[in-house]
Structure formats: structure tokens, C-alpha cells
């Protein structure tokens, strides 16, 4: 297979992976987890005073 075709095929595969992951994230990850993570992350940032 020619390099261009191989790269195009891989690009299509990556797009498919991205699309599938987008769908999976939307349907499988609960909203509560997202809000918990966001607040935990904010707390973490505040604890380290902007250092970490």
C-alpha cells in the first residue's frame, strides 16, 4: 500500500476512534463524575496555591 493511502486509512481509523470515544464518553460517563472531578481538580489547584 502506498504511504499516502496508508496514512489516509490511519486517519480515517483515528477519526472513527475519536467518534466512538466521543459517543462512549457521552453515554457511559455519568454527569456526577464530571462535576466531582471538576471540583476536585479546582480544590487541588487551590491547595497548591497555583503551583500544581
Amino acid at each position: 500500500m502506498k504511504p499516502a493511502a496508508r496514512l489516509a486509512l490511519y486517519g480515517v481509523a483515528l477519526a472513527a476512534v475519536f467518534g466512538g470515544a466521543l459517543l462512549a464518553g457521552n453515554t457511559l460517563v455519568p454527569d456526577a463524575l464530571v462535576s466531582n472531578w471538576t471540583s476536585a481538580s479546582e480544590n487541588e489547584a487551590m491547595e497548591h496555591g497555583g503551583s500544581r
Partner: protein, 762 residues
């Protein structure tokens, strides 16, 4: 640029630059072979392309075609037989790599130390880290970025791709975090914690990962490159074998001139002990010529007027006058040099294990990063957090120990080999030793000692062995002939001093006569004894016929008008050869004896050491064909040899092993040199190669495993710089520790290390 050829087929060699792995060689080869009338073979190790053209092809067009693939090409400078020409291009590349390694090390060490030790993290240390790390990623890692771009153009991924993606991702993310995130603020520190917790990616920098990976991998590359074998050395060693000057006869007067000035038809003088300058025909004089290094024939060849002689062989007997029949590139030596070069150029290079693994790992790592990005965005996380996770996957996917996995094992393996007398030419050698199933052994100098030795005596009734050796030894001691030397050495070893000789006469090509202890003695061929009217009794005649049928050289001894005995001279089998063959079989290798010597001698030697497969009476040029034929049968062939006639076969074999006592040409053409010059060294070499390869595989597995285990953490947004550093440190420590185990590798031979197996007494 000039046209290569205007008429028929011709060959052209190009030096190729910019290749980073065996796949590069394959790509260029494919590209060139697409051109009409072009057959190309590109060798990654020698960095050369051998091109055969049918019809007029412009060298410029070939170079342009190579350059289209992203590599460089040039017509090499003319070869310099004196061997003192510095390899500028190779040296330049190595020098550039050394500069990068030194630069990267100096700049990376403070970056890593600062990142890993919070106590040293002064205010705005992160900006100092950026200043130090930027040249490492942009300049020192440039070869990886360049190779990654080339690979991308060809739709392929190698270790360079992984390194380039990993370091670039780490660097770009750090830039983002410093300029647009909170990482650039005063007082920012990396706390020493390996806890898994969600973190704000924009507060983390990964400069130490980028700089560390670059430095480690560059160092590995440097060690690998430095020990890369010099294929041209074999050719130079071969050309150096020939005589440098010659005593040519001009108008009956001897004139010493450089060999290059010799013309076809010139007559030249070769004195005892001198090398014959070029291929020719004996015009006058008789002598014995030692051609063992060229032909593998252990017995010196007697030559007389009209006989053909070969250049670079040694005149062991009397003065010869030779007429040159072939000179320069037409001589047998030059033809052999061509064979060696062709064999080296045509040798298929294996793709490095690390590259093969990377070829699969890189697309998967990218896919995981994209999947992480998709899941995070799909779930509704902030876009910055989604990108943090995706980039973290790319950062952690690049194993720092990947660059060390192969070179460290090779460094320790080759070091241990050197201690045992197994000198391994280049790092790729051990990787190419994979799956060796056949070992082809040259006879003379490899399985046997390669020197003539007195192997036995047959005495007439009433003659003691001491008496026979005293007279024969004393008389032969006055001769320079290799067979005479073997007899004299054996006699002196057994008897001590030898009596004086009177009236000594050397009868060229037939033997010697003289008086020893008052006995008029004649030693030599049957025809010499006949000239002296000495009859051989029936029992001695029978013993002579039988010994000759067994491949021995028989020397007749007579004194006072009566035949007194026979001396059997031959090439002795080395005491360790049979044991070594048994051990090679135990390693699953099939031994094959290959020799230019006659079939009778070859079969006798093979039987004495336990080899079933014998290929005898092979011309020097045919040895390489035999190895190629075995390879065509699907066998992976190792070859052990020592002579010039073995050089091409050693280069052709998947693994070439030269005896340390052999010719420079053989040593240079081989992958491994056995200093001990016995076959047990070959057993050690194969065992060490296999063991090192196992260590490399384990190293690669763990180099990837530590980082692969951290990929899920990165994908879930739980990666922090300390975790990335820990993965880097653990995998590196494991790789180094695992490689150091090779230092405990034990030699097969009893000395200097105890053998793991009992040696069978002979």
C-alpha cells in the same frame, strides 16, 4: 555529473546518508528499483547502495531519486588501498552525534535534578528549566524529529517517531502550561508525591521527561554508532595482503619497483619467504608455495617451470622467476576482494527489535490519546482537561529506557565477550544472530591447527623411532621447506639437540641429502630415493600407500642405501575441536565442514571431530556460493573461518566468526573474532549472542511495560510529573540491572572461567 554507462550493464556505488534504520534502506532500494534498467541493493550497515544499470543511466538521476525519498546520496571517493584514509563522513556523523550527546547531557542533568528534588526548586526555576531544555528538544533531538518526518512521509513509524512525538508533546505541553497555564507563576513547585489524584494539567511541566528521554536515547545511539562495523576495513585488509613491491627483471637486471608498475609479461624474481607479487607462470626455479591462506590447502604446493602461481601466496622454498599473467583488478586476490565487498553489500539487515515494536506501539498510543480526547470531550469535561489527558498519553507512551534497552545490553554483552576472547564487531551482530541453525566450519586453521605437524612414523625392521627422527630431524633442520620444518620441530621436541649435518644438499621439489653421524642420508619423495637406487620394501610401500590414501603427506627416509622408514606429516586437529562440535550440536546447530582441501583429508578430519556433512574441494570463490546456497535453503548460517578464501563467505553468512590467528581479511570480514583461536570460542560466541538477545527482549518488554502501565493513568487525567519521572527511572534502572546480569555469563572453556559442562577427554 557524468553518465554512468553508455552501452552495456555496469555497476555504480552510491554512499547514502540519513538512514536511521533498516526500513530506510528498504525504501531507497524500492525507489531505485522502480527505475527502468536499474537493479539496486541498499545496505543499512555499510550505508551504501550497489546499483546495476542496463543501458545509459545518469548518476545524477540516481542521486536525485534517492534524494526524493528524503535521504542523501553521493558517488564515493576512489578507494585507497593503503588503508590510511580517514573515514571523514562516518567520522563527521559520529562527531556530530557526540556533540549532541555531550550538549544534551550537560543541559538535561540540571533540568532533571530540579524537577525531581523540590528543595532545589527556586523561584522561577521552571523558566530556567525551559531555557536549558529548549536546545535539547530542538537541537539535540533533531535527528529523531527528522527521522520521524521521513518515516511519516513513508507512512511508517519507528522508535524515532515515538521519541519525537513523546518529547515534542512534553515540550509543547510545558510551553502551554508555562505561558497560558499556571505553571509559569512564581513559587510553582513539583511536590514529591506519587499519589494518583485529578490534577490541573495546565500547572504541570514535563521538561525533564522531554530532556531526559532525548539524552538517554541519544547516548544509546552514540554507543551503537561508534561500534558500527567498518565494512571497508575487510577490503583494505585484503588489498594489504598482496606484495607491496617486486624485483622485476629488466634486461636481465633486477629492479625493485612498486607492484602497481608491473605489466603483463614482466618477469620477476621471488626469493624464499617472499610473497609472490601477482598471478603468473613459473619461468625458472622450483619451490614449494604456501597457498593455505588463499586456497585452504594445508600442504604446500610444489611448483616447477610452467606451473601457474597465485599472487599473495608465499614462496616457501627456492628462488623462482615468474612471468606475470594477470595484474591489478584481474588477479585472484582482487577478485576475492570483490567477492567480499559484494557479500557485505548484499547482506540483509534485520530491522531493530525496538523499531519493530515501535512500528506497532506508536499507532496504538496515538489511537489511545485520540480516544482519551474523545471520551473526555464526550463526557463534558473542560476542553483543557481533555487535551491534558490526550497529551499526557503521548508523553508517557515514550519510554525513556527504550533508547537504553538495546545499547546497554550490547555494551555489557560485548564487554563480557571481550573478557572471554570473543570480540564482537558491532551491536547489530547480536541481533542478527537470531535463529542461527547451521554452522559452517572451515577446516584448515579452524578445526585443525593449520600448520604442518609430524603426525606419525613407520619404521623398517630394526630401526628405532629415535634413530629415525635423529637422522631425519638433523637433515631437515637445514631446510626451509614447511614440511622439513615440521619434521625438525618434532625431532627437536622429542630428542632435544640434533646432530650436525655435513654435505647438505637441497634437491628442489624432491627432498634433501646429506651426512648425519657418518650415515649418508636421503629424505624426500619416492623419486629422489629411486635416483639414489634405494628400493622401498613391500611393507613400507604398503604403509605409504595406505597413509597417502588417508590424506597424509608421506616423507621417505633412507640412509646407507636402504629405506629406513616413513614420516607422516599432516595438519593436526585441534584438541578442543571435537568437544566444541559436540557443544555446537547441543545448541541445536548443524555443523558443516567446508574446505578447499581434498575430500579424503576432509572426510578424515570430519569423522575425527564428529561432523557428518562435508563439502570439500571447494574453490575460494565457491565458498561464498555454498553459504548462499545454504541460506537459499532457508537456513540461518554462521560461518567460522580464518583464511582469505573464507573472507567472502564470512561476510555472506548471517553470523561470521573469524579465528584470531587468521588473516586480517577474514577478521575484518567477520562479525566476531575469536581470540582464543579454538572452536570453543565459537560456542561461547553463539551462547553469548543468544543470551544477550534474550536480555534485549526482556529489556524492551519492561521498557514498554512501565510506561504502558502508566498510559491508563494518563488517559484518566491522573498523571503528574513525578509519576512520569518514576516510570522513567524504574524502567531505566530495570534495563541497566537486567543488562548487568550478562557480566555473570560463564565461558565454555575451562580457563579462565570454569565450564558449565564437563569437557569430554579426547
Amino acid at each position: 555529473m557524468t553518465a554512468v554507462d553508455e552501452t552495456a550493464a555496469s555497476t555504480l556505488e552510491l554512499e547514502i546518508g540519513g538512514m536511521t534504520c533498516a526500513s530506510c534502506a528498504m525504501r531507497i532500494e524500492k525507489k531505485l528499483n522502480r527505475l527502468d534498467g536499474v537493479e539496486a541493493s541498499v545496505n543499512y550497515a555499510t550505508e551504501k547502495a550497489q546499483i546495476r544499470t542496463h543501458g545509459p543511466v545518469d548518476a545524477a538521476a540516481l542521486i536525485a531519486e534517492v534524494e526524493k525519498t528524503g535521504y542523501t546520496a553521493s558517488v564515493p571517493a576512489a578507494p585507497q588501498p593503503e588503508g590510511d584514509a580517514p573515514d571523514d563522513e562516518e567520522g563527521g556523523e559520529l562527531r556530530s552525534l557526540r556533540h549532541r550527546v555531550i550538549g544534551a547531557t550537560v543541559l538535561s542533568v540540571p533540568v532533571i535534578v530540579l524537577a525531581m528534588i523540590p528543595a532545589l526548586q527556586f523561584t522561577y526555576w521552571q523558566w530556567a528549566s525551559l531555557t536549558l531544555a529548549a536546545p535539547v528538544i530542538a537541537w539535540a533531538a533533531w535527528p529523531f524529529h527528522r527521522a520521524a518526518w521521513l518515516n511519516l512521509r513513508h507512512g511508517a513509524a519507528t522508535m524515532d517517531t515515538l521519541i519525537s512525538i513523546g518529547t515534542t508533546a512534553a515540550f509543547l505541553w510545558s510551553l502551554y502550561a508555562l505561558f497560558f497555564g499556571t505553571a509559569g507563576m512564581a513559587g510553582m513547585t513539583h511536590a514529591f508525591e506519587l499519589t494518583i489524584a485529578p490534577s490541573d494539567g495546565a500547572a504541570n511541566i514535563y521538561l525533564e521527561v522531554a530532556a531526559g528521554v532525548t539524552t538517554f536515547v541519544l547516548a544509546g545511539r552514540y554507543f551503537e554508532k561508534r561500534s558500527k562495523r567498518q565494512a571497508g576495513a575487510a577490503l583494505r585488509a585484503l588489498l594489504d595482503m598482496g606484495a607491496k613491491d617486486v624485483a622485476v627483471l629488466r634486461d636481465g637486471v633486477e629492479q625493485r619497483v612498486p607492484v602497481a608498475q608491473l605489466a603483463i609479461g614482466d618477469e620477476f624474481v621471488v626469493r624464499p619467504g617472499e610473497k609472490i607479487a601477482t598471478d603468473g607462470v613459473v619461468v625458472s626455479g622450483t619451490s614449494a608455495v604456501d597457498a593455505s591462506m588463499l586456497t585452504g590447502e594445508s600442504v604446500p604446493v610444489e611448483v616447477a617451470p610452467g606451473d601457474a602461481v597465485t599472487g599473495a601466496t608465499v614462496n616457501a622454498g627456492g628462488r623462482l622467476v615468474i612471468r606475470a599473467t594477470r595484474i591489478g583488478a584481474d588477479t585472484q586476490l582482487a577478485q576475492m576482494a570483490r567477492l567480499v565487498e559484494e557479500a557485505q553489500s548484499g547482506k540483509a539487515e534485520m530491522q531493530r527489535l525496538a523499531d519493530r515494536i515501535s512500528g506497532v506501539f506508536v499507532p496504538i498510543a496515538i489511537a489511545i490519546a485520540v480516544a482519551a480526547l474523545g471520551v473526555w470531550i464526550g463526557a463534558g469535561f473542560p476542553l483543557a482537561a481533555a487535551f491534558t489527558a490526550a497529551v499526557a498519553v503521548l508523553i508517557i507512551a515514550c519510554p525513556c529506557a527504550l533508547g537504553l534497552a538495546t545499547p546497554i545490553a550490547l555494551l555489557v554483552g560485548t564487554g563480557r565477550g571481550a573478557q572471554m576472547g570473543v570480540l564482537i564487531k558491532g551491536p547489530e551482530v547480536l541481533e542478527t544472530s537470531r535463529g542461527i541453525d547451521t554452522i559452517v566450519l572451515d577446516k584448515t586453521g579452524t578445526v585443525t591447527t593449520g600448520t604442518m605437524t609430524l603426525t606419525g612414523t613407520v619404521r623398517a625392521d630394526g630401526v628405532s623411532e629415535d634413530e629415525l627422527l635423529t637422522i631425519a630431524g638433523a637433515l631437515e633442520d637445514a631446510s626451509e621447506h614447511p614440511i622439513a620444518k615440521a619434521i625438525a620441530t618434532a625431532a627437536r621436541t622429542r630428542l632435544g639437540t640434533l646432530p650436525a649435518v655435513e654435505s647438505f644438499q637441497n634437491v628442489e621439489g624432491l627432498g634433501v641429502t646429506g651426512v648425519v653421524d657418518g650415515h649418508a642420508a636421503v629424505i624426500g619423495r619416492a623419486s629422489l630415493l629411486q635416483d639414489w637406487a634405494v628400493q622401498l620394501p613391500a611393507d613400507l610401500q604398503h604403509a605409504k600407500d595406505s597413509a597417502e590414501a588417508d590424506g597424509n603427506t608421506v616423507v621417505l627416509v633412507a640412509w646407507d642405501g636402504q629405506a629406513r622408514g616413513l614420516l607422516l606429516v599432516g595438519d593436526e586437529v585441534k584438541p578442543t575441536s571435537a568437544d566444541a562440535i559436540r557443544r555446537l550440536r547441543a545448541l541445536g546447530l548443524r555443523p558443516v565442514l567446508l574446505t578447499g582441501d581434498n575430500a579424503t583429508v576432509a572426510r578424515r578430519v570430519a569423522a575425527s571431530v564428529g561432523i557428518d556433512e562435508v563439502i570439500a574441494e571447494v574453490l575460494p570463490a565457491e565458498k561464498v556460493d555454498v553459504v548462499a546456497r545454504l541460506q537459499a535453503e532457508g537456513r540461518k548460517v554462521a560461518m567460522v573461518g580464518d583464511g582469505v578464501n573464507d573472507a567472502a563467505a564470512l561476510a555472506q553468512a548471517d553470523l561470521g566468526l573469524a579465528m584470531g590467528t587468521g588473516t586480517d581479511a577474514a577478521i575484518e570480514a567477520a562479525d566476531i573474532t575469536l581470540v582464543r583461536a579454538d572452536l570453543l570460542g565459537a560456542v561461547d560466541a553463539i551462547r553469548l549472542s543468544r543470551r544477550t538477545l534474550t536480555v534485549i527482549k526482556t529489556n524492551l518488554f519492561w521498557a514498554f511495560a512501565y510506561n504502558a502501565a502508566a498510559i491508563p493513568l494518563a488517559a484518566f487525567g491522573l498523571l503528574n510529573p513525578m509519576l512520569a519521572g518514576a516510570a522513567m527511572a524504574f524502567s531505566s534502572v530495570f534495563v541497566v540491572g537486567n543488562s548487568l546480569r550478562l557480566r555473570s555469563f560463564r565461558s565454555t572453556a575451562a580457563a579462565p572461567h570454569p565450564a558449565p559442562l564437563e569437557r569430554t577427554p579426547r
